[in-house]
């Protein structure tokens, strides 16, 4: 697999802080992966994401060591606007990411900033609308949208930059369960169709883990587990890890001793299959 992100021994401490936000992180992420980052608040997920696009150390200063290569570029020295055309980043709160007074202008905003021709902007805006399924919101004002709609617009406005990597920092934290589930399913779909690498931090593992190719767990600025999701879940269940909420179905299977002989189930169907497997 071609590596799209390579991090070697990255450490970072915010200026004025006594605590290292990231400690000796080494990580490789391949092209087209769907990597889920989990960990308690303050574990360093957001800080790590900011390092991938260059917000750290270019906007936030501090003590920075190690090496990061994203799509062949070094985010610590490449202008953020150049990084942003390879790495799209969506933040938690959509209200602070939408600037224009119509949805359409918002999706076009970044494209105007990089100086694209109108025809190209039109093509990309229409495509982003189609991908996110928000064509009907095109002429609305961001004020009147629901939380889920706003977050969709925020994602569309980043997708319009046609990034090769999409990073989402807790994109569903302000959404209700059903809306969050739908959005995450759509993201998995987009990743497959558009062939982009997706990095996402999410507390509700139930919702993402079945789509994930990687599950990375962080604690106090370090990576404590990083593997294929089932393997990570097995490790965490074995250790009785409580800092993040593991999928209920997996915990149930583990508690019932159903997952010992087969892999950890992530869905109801797999759970039932495991159940049938007892006798065999």
């Amino acid at each position: 697999m071609n590596m799209t992100i390579e991090i070697e021994d990255l450490s970072f401490r915010y200026a004025g802080s006594g605590r290292w936000a990231l400690r000796n992180i080494s990580l490789k992420i391949g092209e087209g992966e769907f990597a889920v980052f989990a960990g308690a608040t303050g574990c360093g997920k957001s800080t790590l994401f900011k390092c991938l696009i260059g917000l750290i150390p270019q906007m936030y200063h501090g003590e920075y060591s190690g090496r990061v290569i994203v799509r062949g570029l070094d985010p610590s020295t490449t202008p953020i606007s150049k990084m942003a055309q390879k790495v799209g980043m969506v933040f938690q709160n959509p209200d602070n990411q939408l600037f224009a007074l119509t949805v359409e202008n918002d999706v076009a905003f970044a494209l105007e900033n990089i100086g694209l021709e109108r025809a190209e902007i039109e093509r990309r805006v229409s495509k982003a609308f189609r991908i996110m399924g928000i064509e009907d919101l095109r002429h609305r004002s961001p004020f009147e949208l629901s939380g889920g709609q706003k977050q969709r617009v925020a994602i569309a406005s980043i997708l319009a930059l046609e990034p090769e990597i999409l990073i989402l920092d807790e994109p569903t934290s302000s959404l209700d369960g059903a809306t969050a589930k739908k959005l995450l399913e759509e993201l998995a779909e987009i990743r497959r169709k558009e062939n982009i690498t997706v990095l996402i931090s999410e507390h509700r593992l139930d919702l993402v883990v079945r789509e994930a190719t990687r599950l990375i767990v962080m604690e106090s600025g370090q990576i404590i587990a990083d593997d294929e999701p089932r393997e990570v879940l097995r490790q965490l269940l074995e250790d009785d890890y409580y800092m993040i909420e593991l999928p209920k179905i997996s915990r149930l299977a583990w508690a019932l001793g159903l997952s010992g002989r087969r892999s950890i189930p992530l869905t109801k169907e797999e759970f039932i299959a495991n159940l049938w497997g007892i006798g065999s």
Binding site: Q97, A110, G115, S157
Partner: protein, 262 residues
């Protein structure tokens, strides 16, 4: 007063021929109203004629824009200032050579003129969306940073208003009373709203700065625009009407039509 005055100038999204006009045409019309109201009428009769016709044309235009009632709100809101203008003009009575009737007419005409001056931009504000206003600013070659500041401010105002309401509610549920007590006590209660609001805004500023960075703000020397104002044939026609109106007024003024009765 001031609040209702501002309320009456708030843009309301409607679909009328006036709303559809290019904001540049509306700006031109508003400027013409303003210039006409200020420049003409050395004699009270002319002043009264000019100012009344301005207010009347505003009324007709706003009627078409289905927003005429807001003109009344503005007028009502402006009454205290207009009253002040009237009273100040009455000071002319103190002059030894003053004729009471003449001064009274002058005062009346000045008040109406002031009203015409105040309301001249109504049509523009009431029927131009903030978005169009932003586009207008960039058409006028105002640097994009300023246009952006304006658009972002309009965009954020309701978000911050919501946040302020949340803080007020939270304080209320902790027993803070905003409507009771001495003025000093009330101001103190507001400080409790202002401080968290300010801190939240600072945090928001950081988040917005991050979002602006990843959206390549300021990346290109030559920023392009996706939607640009485009004048239609109707807009051109409307500007011709506005300009000929203005020319007619200037011409009539040149002939001395507003300088006194024959």
């Amino acid at each position: 007063m001031s609040l209702s005055l501002l309320q009456a100038l708030k843009y309301r999204s409607l679909d009328t021929p006036i709303h559809r006009l290019d904001p540049r045409v509306k700006l031109l019309a508003a400027m013409s109203f303003l210039v006409t109201a200020l420049l003409f009428g050395r004699y009270w009769g002319g002043m009264l004629t000019v100012s009344s016709s301005i207010i009347l044309s505003q009324l007709i235009l706003l009627k078409v824009a289905k927003s005429s009632r807001y003109l009344l709100t503005t007028i009502r809101g402006a009454l205290p200032i207009v009253g002040l203008v009237f009273l100040l003009s009455l000071l002319g009575l103190l002059e030894p050579t003053a004729q009471a009737g003449e001064v009274l007419y002058w005062a009346l005409a000045s008040s109406i003129r002031f009203l015409a001056f105040l309301t001249s931009f109504n049509i523009f504000f009431l029927t131009t969306s903030p978005d169009e206003f932003g586009q207008l600013l960039s058409k006028l070659r105002i640097p994009y940073v300023y246009t952006f500041t304006f658009v972002a401010a309009v965009r954020l105002a309701p978000v911050i208003a919501d946040e302020a309401q949340d803080i007020i509610d939270a304080q209320r549920s902790r027993g803070v009373e905003f409507e009771k007590g001495s003025p000093v006590k009330r101001i103190k209660a507001l400080v409790g709203v202002f401080v968290p609001l300010l801190i939240n805004s600072l945090r928001r500023a950081y988040e917005m700065a991050e979002a602006l960075e990843v959206k390549c703000f300021g990346a290109s020397e030559r920023r392009t625009t996706y939607r640009e104002l485009q004048a239609s044939r109707k807009d051109v026609l409307a500007s011709i009407v506005v300009l000929s109106g203005l020319t007619l007024m200037i011409w009539a003024n040149g002939l001395g039509a507003f300088n006194g009765l024959p």
